[in-house]
Amino acid sequence: MTELPRPRDSWGTRIGVILAVTGSAVGLGNFLRFPGLAAQYEGGVFMIPYFIALLVLGLPLAWAEWAMGRYGGSRGFNSAPGIYRVLCRTRLAPYIAFPCLLVPVGIFMFYVLIEAWCLGYAWFYLTGMMSELGEQARNGMENGLLKEDVYTSFFVKFIGMAEDGASFNLSRTSALPFLAICFALNFVTIYRGLNRGIEKFCLWAMPALILCAILVLIRVLTLPNIDAGLGFMWNMRTEGESFTRQLLNGKMWLEATGQVFFTLSVGLGVIITYASYLRRDDDIALSSLTSAAGNEFCEVVLGGMIIIPAAFLFFGFGVTERVGSSFGLGFITLPIVFEQMPLGYMAGFLFFILLFLAAATSTLSMLQPAIALLEEGLGVNRKASVTILGFVTLVGALFVLYFSKDATALATFDFWVGIFFIYVIAMIQTVIFGWVLGVDKGMAELDRGAEIRVPRFIGFVLKYVAPLYLLAVFVFWIYTEIRKPEEQNTLLMTLRNPVGLMSVGFLALLAVFFLLIIAQASKRWQQLGAVSDAEVRA
């Protein structure tokens, strides 16, 4: 058996893998996007398509990705191009895997900024800057309400939305020092490796995140009249005919499916890499289900009980107008809520620390797929691969930070690598699992070492239902994007706005960079005989 000459990393404990995958999945979407969507779609009604999508699409896709990852890992490959090569047995297959590198690295470039904003807000709560802001807002009170403009202009200034390059300053409210801290944290952790870095970090960060969330939850649930807030979040606000109409709302099904899909981190290229570091007979069926359940706990239980119930108490039904933008909800609406809440500064600090930890455990996972490719594709050691990736992501993050006017670069990156290519990866992976590897072989892989028996109909779901379901959601998403008014249309913005065009160009360059590395890696694997050996074992 020919092993690729490189250091092979591995997980230390099973709990570590589960927490790392859960940490990768838990992000800002759990605490901001999910409750916002639930509030937007009549509270309780939203949960029906949400749970159906979880059971029909989310869990099967996660199982498939874990199975394919371990299949490739047990044949000597940890990177998505290597794993695709083993699964598809064609020379072109590694090239199809380029989105598995483009997506996590592209997302890292803007998500690390958001992580820095969360850390920044936590710091501002700790150092009393938010209380100064509260004082200003109280001085400008109108009709008994805090002056919201104070919070909006603070956020706009902090992220440099007013003009390009506005973030490049070293004032008291600059995001740059927080970005430097987040970058250092990510790269020091990833440099320490899978076991001593990512796993160790997640082993304390995930419990700390849950503790912060529970403390904030206690604060929210002990607010006077909280049952009104919970009612707004969970009541089925429509009855009879209008309930049926709401339940048949296609957009709600689309949003619920998209939320499930993004929250579990399937199609991101991370799970396939993480699972490849497992041993051949390690359980994946139960581990995958536990990670998904951990993510759902953070989303439904913690995310669903904190921000919307609290915000409703301060804004009444007006809160529905505020849930459309996760950033507006998180960085403008919530600070107003915390300002008016007894013990609000402490709750605000804990909430932004929890968002920071959620973002940090996610960004850490986004670097591993590219590290794996650089190590096994070019044969470089961890130090060199971390340095190369550090340079590439720093350039990308500075690009997004510089072109901060109206957050155009961030929105364009999010549109292409945060949504479009995730659908593409998920569709490719369901086809590979169901049609190339084959359901029988795929389910046998899932069963090896399994501590629970995955129901047989999951094979049918993965072969027929999931690809069609995904395709339908993808087509519907494209259709709604095209029909959006000009000012909200990211596709048009990409084509007409120079920053949008440059952002797409940057992502295209990044894609070329990964394709060149894949080409080099393919040659190397062929020369070393690693591919033919893996094919024999397949």
Binding site: R14, I15, I18, G43, G44, M47, F51, N143, G144, L145, L146, L223, P224, N225, D227, A228, L230, G231, F232, M233, W234, N235, M236, D283, L286, S287, L289, T290, A293, G294, E296, F297, V300, V301, G304, F312, L313, F314, F315, G316, F317, G318, Q340, M341, P342, L343, E451, I452
Partner: protein, 71 residues
Amino acid sequence: MTTAWFLAQLTAEQRAEIENYTLHPSGWIVMILSIGFVVGLLTWCIRRVMRESQPEKLHGQIDVDTHDAEP
């Protein structure tokens, strides 16, 4: 900071909206089912993971068959 202070930040209309609103039976059902399902699933998974992660039974000398008695 007291509760009265915090309520004073709301307009009269908002206060009325909130005071007249409550968690309906349908809301209770959806909330309990959603949270119950997720908490139940996570608890079941963690119990299974913990049970399966126990170290395998160590065999004492009495369990080891040395085949001494065989001819």
